[in-house]
Amino acid sequence: MVDLVFWIVVGITIASAVMVVQSKQLLYSAIALLFTFVGVAGLYIFLWADFIAVVQVVVYVGGILVLIVFGIMLTNKITSVNISHTSVQRGIGATVVLGILAGIGFMIINTPWYQVAATEPAQTTETIGRLLMMDYLLPFEVASLLLLGALIGATTLSRKED
């Protein structure tokens, strides 16, 4: 049963990712991206990462996807047919990417991965909080500075000049 759910989640993720890169309509790509993000959040839950799954839904679906839809709306006239956009060099791109996929697959199969048996943690949030506030305090603060910089930079860039 759990296996079935896992493969359904994987199927949704991959199929909607294909839709993202293939769809002629940019808005359809954005909506397919929603399903990809939700599917990836489901995979996080299978990987015992409940907190990261929630963050994924909040930040990606609630933030980045809305930003992307805004970007589409602001750079296209929604009433015109010209929302579609062209892809170029599909053949060469597909060949190169399939080659890379074959290489990665070969590597995955042939590498003896180091694995340890672990038990599912009751909760991850507390440990993540401890790690962020103790071991990773400096990267945490740098990330907050970076977000502030990105916030100010994005506002400055997108403002109309007087």
């Binding site: 991959i14 994924q56 750079t75 990417v97 990330a143």
Partner: protein, 101 residues
């Protein structure tokens, strides 16, 4: 489902699809979507190794940082794309080869 290679294959597929999007798409927003797919695949890898490789919660912290960077990157990239659209009236990344009009 309880196998590391399953997750690695899903992540590899997502990475390759994202790369394909970045290579073939000519719309700036669509290229950005490809980059988001690639970042998600990296996150799946972090969490898969955190569960199966004995990294415990440290991998989760790294995934959190990746999400933070993705949010910052999306905001700045869309600001740049909207600026390009205002200046050039197009967001075809092939047409935008100059830093000024």
């Amino acid at each position: 489902m309880d196998s590391l290679t399953n997750y690695l294959f899903v992540s590899a597929a997502l990475f390759c699809l994202g790369l394909y999007g970045v290579i073939t798409r000519r719309n700036g927003v669509a290229v950005l979507m490809g980059v988001e797919l690639i970042l998600n695949s990296a996150n799946i890898n972090f969490l898969a190794f955190a569960r199966f490789g004995g990294m415990n919660i440290t991998g989760h912290v790294y995934a959190l940082f990746v999400i933070v960077l993705a949010a910052a990157e999306a905001a700045v990239a869309l600001a740049i794309i909207i600026n390009i659209f205002n200046n050039f009236k197009t967001i075809n990344v092939d047409d935008v080869s100059q830093l000024r009009q």
